[in-house]
């Protein structure tokens, strides 16, 4: 019987953060690979134009790495990163003063599968995106962290510096208002 091959341990976020703080650039690159898509989804869900998504993702990571000294592990790195992404998005909106919407036909051209189904799904997402844009920032972020990213209220509360009860209230207010917008 041959000895079992050692399983390569997947480094935790905390280990990667420590490695980056020790000067390991590849640790930073691995953190980006690990969390970039979730961050991009969060930003896109919050209204980020796709053309600017890459820049916004980069900016959020840069800010996060610069502020890592202040990350105390009160929540997961990803949750903390997404709240930084929320700040980056807010600043981008402030600069642009308007949200640019990707034209529907551009999305449709890049679609695979049934164009009709895709168009319907796209329209539903566009309406939800518009409705999310009407919500106060905190409600929007809590909704996305909960419904899109699947975080627990305790995790969301720790990242946003509030209580789980308050996070729950923000979520339910968001759902109520989104339903009103979408009806």
């Amino acid at each position: 019987m041959s000895p079992a091959e050692p399983v390569a341990a997947v480094p935790t976020d905390a280990a990667l953060i420590a490695a980056w703080q020790g000067g390991d650039e590849q640790a930073a690159a691995e953190l980006v690979r690990r969390h970039a898509r979730a961050l991009a989804r969060f930003l896109a869900g919050g209204g980020a134009p796709e053309a600017e998504l890459d820049d916004l993702v980069q900016e959020a990571f840069i800010r996060a790495f610069r502020a890592l000294d202040r990350f105390r592990g009160q929540c997961r790195f990803r949750t903390w990163l997404l709240t930084i992404g929320g700040n980056v998005l807010k600043d981008a909106f402030r600069r642009a003063r308007r949200v640019r919407v990707v034209p529907l036909d551009e999305e449709l051209r890049s679609a695979d599968g049934d164009p009709h189904e895709h168009a319907v799904a796209l329209e539903a997402e566009r309406r939800l995106g518009d409705a999310l844009g009407q919500l106060p920032r905190l409600q929007r972020e809590v909704f996305l962290l909960r419904a899109q990213q699947g975080f627990e209220y305790e995790e969301i509360a720790a990242a946003l510096g509030t209580t789980p009860g308050a996070a729950r209230v923000h979520y339910h207010h968001a759902v109520k208002r989104l339903k009103e917008y979408l009806e």
């Binding site: 590849q26 930073a28 691995e30 991009a40 869900g45 980069q58 997402e125 999310l132």
Partner: protein
């Protein structure tokens, strides 16, 4: 929550889960990682630390305090009463109430009022005041205050 609400909640959540997925899938993660590492290398770690060291919440609180203090100073300047004119009757050490005056102070007051052509023309005052009393009346008042 009724059945329809539950269905709506589920549908809303499923829609939210899909939100931004296509855009995120089109992100070139490897290129983004390289770009981030390059920027971290090029921009010194200390760059922007002076402001980054201050929590934005504290900056907001400091700005709010400056506004409140500034507004307070402006309001104080606007509503401060005009300085009082010279007291009509100068009585050394006199308080606002006659009863608070000591016996020597009251005697000084009495002398001032009794002087012909004193500091103030008593007849000009529309109301009857201390200055309208005659010297015997003031002495009687002094005696009553001294018990």
């Amino acid at each position: 929550m009724n059945h329809n609400d539950a269905v709506n909640d589920t549908a809303l959540r499923q829609l939210a889960e899909r939100l931004g997925t296509r855009a995120a899938e089109r992100l070139d993660v490897e290129r983004t990682a390289e770009a981030v590492v390059t920027r971290l290398r090029q921009e010194p770690r200390g760059a922007g630390r002076v402001w980054a060291a201050f929590d934005p919440a504290w900056l907001r609180i400091a700005a709010a305090l400056v506004l409140v203090v500034g507004a307070g100073l402006v309001a104080r300047g606007a509503f401060q009463p005009a300085p009082l004119s010279e007291p009509a009757l100068a009585v050394p050490g006199a308080g606002p109430e006659l009863s608070e005056l000591s016996a020597p102070q009251l005697e000084e007051l009495l002398r001032t009022v009794a002087e012909p052509g004193g500091a103030r023309d008593a007849g000009a005052a529309p109301d009857v005041g201390l200055e309208d009393l005659s010297a015997p009346q003031l002495r009687a008042l002094l005696a009553s205050l001294e018990g």
